[in-house]
Amino acid sequence: MLSDRQPRSFLEPQVLSRLAAVPLLARKAMIGGVSGRHTSPHRGSSVEFAEYRKYVPGDDLRRLDWRAFGRSDRYYIKEFEADTNLRCCLVLDTSGSMNFGSAGLTKIQYARRLCGTLGYLAGQQGDAVGISCVANGIVRSLPPRRSPAHLRMVLDILEEAEPQGETRLPEVLHELAETIRQRALVVIVSDLFVDPAALGSSFSHLRFRHHDIAVFHLLDPQEVAFNFSRPTRFLDMEGGSAIFADPSDIADRYHTALSGYLAAIKQVVLESGIDYQRAMTDESYEQVLARFLVGRAAGKGLR
């Protein structure tokens, strides 16, 4: 599929082959343009029986259940589930803070792997893949399409994405909620260093638009541990003012603030009903994705 280009640094064939065994499924019914692996809110021609309904003039007589007519002397139409493809919108946070990394990989590199693998897997199963790089606005955007050429463009964008600027993720998500047509699987990959309440509002907006939301919350191990031994001048990667602090002095309060933030995120997740995945950048992204895909496979069938 991508043979005409050199291998992407963030795509690993072995990982792709292993994860391909688990389908990427939507937790909600999707409205696609073609037949696919995802449930649709409409009736279709699959082999899976859906329901009977009374015949009304104009119905296709081929779908009339004659056996039921023979037993009840009434006309019933036999309906089947429709399978369709999904529109996978990857939302990649490219704010300055995504350039932080203490465990070998920066968050943006980790996010590239997640987005690239997910996009590839979605494309492989015939889903449309699009991408939006966001920071203090939508930096770059590509609407979901099904073609392999489009997937290549998505991967190009991923490769070219550079973390820069401050984060205005809630505002951007509100904008995306208004611009993404029809139902879609919105995969957000970000460190979520924003106000949890504002974030919850934007998630609710996306849900209102019937989107299936999945969030990969990226955290660096040093951001959690905060174990420095010397006074440090912290420079804001998003352009804010620097802060001078003795980490040994404020570590406890830092952890207090972090715990409070995570508790608020947890509350937002519970209220929004989103698919939340917290990922440490020192963790294998394959495991994160496997956990994500398996978790979604268990929830298949919702319409």
């Binding site: 959690v224 010397r230 802060i243 972090l258």
Partner: protein, 680 residues
């Protein structure tokens, strides 16, 4: 505070070491790009006040620990909480000891405690040994030169208590002379005293000169007063005011008047007074209801046999009265001597006949029937042949003496004799004791005495407190006075009626009017003249006769001269022969007896206030250390342990503050807990 190793204090700027280390540490910061700024901002905002306070406390405790270790290493000395004056070790220490009887007082609340003097000596020995002073000089008597001692321990054998008061200004003057003459370096003057008013004599003009002199010294002089000013109001002092033999029904008996006194007026107390005369002792109780009780003319039979001074002599002798031991043992005994009353011989030199007659009559009339008075009227030329040892008073109403007569009269006055001058009809320019007559002034209207000294001297109130009728006197004519004198009674328009010449050991008085009716009513209003003359005779009579009752240190230096003829009959055997005049006791030289006792002022516990003491040392480096009789240990102590403890406490406090607070666990982010389900 004094330090034995003051050079170490030069390292005190090291107190700033924690600040410097802190600043260096701050300069060692690393710069880091950071993403999770929102948590840092929250962390900085949380508990900022407490965090800053904790930082300050930690810094202060670290500085305190450094300061404490430096101070401990410099071996600080404590001189009592009130003596925090700075200064290092002095080159010379001069010890001035107050040996007056009041320093014999013990701690009233403790049994068998040391006296103030012993306590002061002991504490001085320990403190000076701790201070390891360079040179130690002791000064106990202004009449003796200060002497250097090898070690403070010698003080234990020096400075026995005496019965005389301590002239503190004079001792300080001696210390000043020593410092100036020997050109010594920095000096510390240790003054051990109980701040008695009579010892310090704050009204003395010598204080101002002393302050100025010490202030001008090029070397540093510090004064350390070891004050033992606590008094015991219940302490009782005994004193004999008179002891005279008397013949009653053929028996010779001694009439003794004893006064016991204390500072408080209650409770009621019954004291046994023990009289010892020769080998005989008797006891009589005296009731002490208020502050003072008087046993008036208590008769003690002297017997018919051999007297204490020899066979058949019962009219002369000595004795002692004592009371039970109390807080101050120095005022529990009083020595007295007695003899037949000496003939009170008066010499009158009067040019005016009327005055001569009146004065003779007044001088010849004794105030007691036991007294024998004798009056001799002379002309100045006859004075050379007078036996001056038997004369109590000279009354002079003639031109002031000239030539050799002046020398005779001055010697008489120096011996304690009294002189009363009345103005001659023709005043001359001649002077006596620096005082001369000027001119007569005739007053149109008789003048009355406006003011007079009713508290002391010849015109003092009577023993019952009544004033003499001086205001009723009329002065029609008075003669002016010129020279240094102290007015005792004044007339209107700044005229003087009675004055005392200054600078004479005895009393030299000048009355500016005569007893003649032409000049005044001294003769017709005779009470004043009689009291004036008889009081002068009483004073003069004290120095004549074979027995004398004197205050300690009031006798001439000849008393403890090298001739060694005086022998001690009673009193402390510890007293050095050179200091006999300072110790209470009875002394004999030939057929003369002298009883030496503490002065009356020692019985009055008048303490000089601390503020007044500070004024006396104003402008000088002065500090006071308060102690009390019986205190243990030195008031100068090494207190480095206290600073070590302070350092330990500071370090413990710093460690407690630096302990990490109860750690808030990092958010658990194990891989199995990261899904939504795990969060939920």
């Amino acid at each position: 505070m004094t330090f034995l190793q003051p050079l170490i204090l030069a390292a005190l700027p090291l107190i700033g070491l924690p600040i410097i280390i802190h600043l260096i540490n701050q300069r060692r910061f690393q710069t880091m790009q950071w993403a999770a700024m929102m948590f840092l901002v929250s962390a900085k905002a949380l508990s900022r006040g407490y965090s800053r306070l904790r930082h300050w406390l930690i810094m202060m405790l670290r500085m305190l620990a450094v300061a404490a270790i430096l101070l401990a290493a410099s071996r600080p000395l404590s001189r009592g909480w009130l003596a925090l004056a700075g200064g290092g070790r002095a080159d010379t220490s001069i010890v001035i000891l107050d040996r007056s009887p009041s320093m014999q007082q013990q701690d009233p609340t403790a049994e068998d405690s040391d006296s103030k003097l012993d306590t002061g000596r002991r504490q001085l020995i320990q403190s000076l040994a701790t201070l390891a002073t360079g040179r130690l000089v002791v000064l106990t008597d202004p009449k003796q030169k200060p002497f250097e001692v090898e070690s403070p321990a010698v003080l234990a054998d020096l400075a026995a208590p005496v019965a005389s008061p301590t002239d503190v200004p004079l001792l300080l003057q001696s210390a000043y002379d020593y410092v100036r003459e020997n050109s010594i370096g920095s000096t510390e003057i240790w003054l051990c005293s109980d701040q008695r008013h009579n010892d310090w004599n704050p009204e003395s003009g010598e204080w101002a000169g002393m302050r100025e002199a010490f202030a001008k010294l090029p070397q540093q002089v510090r004064f350390q007063l070891l004050s033992y000013s606590q008094t015991d109001p219940s302490n009782v002092a005994v004193r004999v005011t008179s002891a005279r033999p008397h013949v009653h029904n053929g028996e010779i008996e001694l009439l003794v008047t004893v006064v016991v006194s204390r500072q408080e007026s209650s409770p009621q107390l019954t004291l046994p007074l023990r009289f010892e005369i020769g080998q005989a002792a008797s006891t009589v109780d005296i009731q002490l209801d208020g502050k003072q009780a008087v046993l008036k003319d208590h008769p003690i039979a002297l017997g018919r046999g051999d007297g204490p001074m020899g066979p058949g002599d019962h009219f002369r002798g000595w004795g002692r009265v004592s009371i039970p031991a109390d807080a101050n043992v120095a005022d529990n005994d009083f020595f007295f001597v007695f003899d037949r009353p000496a003939t009170r011989r008066t010499l009158i030199v009067a040019a005016d006949g009327a005055s001569r007659q009146v004065l003779s009559l007044v001088a010849h009339t004794p105030s007691s029937k036991d007294q024998a008075c004798e009056v001799e009227v002379l002309v100045p030329e006859d004075l050379a042949a007078v036996a001056w040892d038997e004369v109590a008073i000279v009354i002079w109403q003639a031109p002031l003496p000239e030539g050799k007569t002046i020398l005779l009269l001055e010697q008489f006055a120096d011996r304690g004799g009294q002189l009363i001058f009345f103005p001659p009809e023709q005043p001359t320019e001649q002077s006596f004791a620096g005082v001369s007559w000027t001119n007569w002034t005739t007053h149109k209207e008789p003048l009355h005495v406006l003011t007079w000294r009713s508290d002391q001297d010849l015109l003092a109130n009577t023993a019952s407190g009544a004033a003499l009728p001086i205001g009723e006197l009329e002065v029609r004519r008075s003669c002016g006075l010129a020279g240094p004198y102290t007015p005792l009674a004044s007339l209107p328009a700044d005229a003087t009626f009675l004055a005392r010449a200054t600078g004479q050991r005895g009393g030299v008085y000048f009355c500016t009017s005569t007893p003649s009716n032409r000049d005044s009513t001294l003769a017709t209003e005779g009470i004043v003249l009689y009291a004036l003359v008889q009081r002068a005779i009483d004073r003069g009579a004290e120095v004549i006769g074979k027995t004398r009752q004197v205050d300690a240190d009031t006798l001439a230096a000849g008393f403890h001269s090298k001739d060694g003829q005086w022998t001690r009959l009673a009193g402390s055997s510890d007293a050095l022969s050179t200091e006999m005049g300072l110790h209470a006791g009875v002394y004999q030289k030939g057929d003369r007896l002298v009883a030496i006792n503490r002065p009356a002022a020692e019985d009055a516990a008048s303490i000089l206030a601390d503020g007044r003491i500070d004024e006396l040392f104003a402008g000088l480096s002065f500090s006071r250390i308060s102690g009390r009789a019986g205190d243990d240990g030195s008031f100068v102590k090494e207190i480095w342990r206290m600073f070590l403890v302070a350092m330990l406490l500071a370090l413990i406090g710093e460690a407690v503050l630096c302990l990490p607070k109860r750690s808030i666990p990092e958010p658990s982010l194990s891989s199995g807990m990261r899904s939504l389900e795990a969060v939920a």
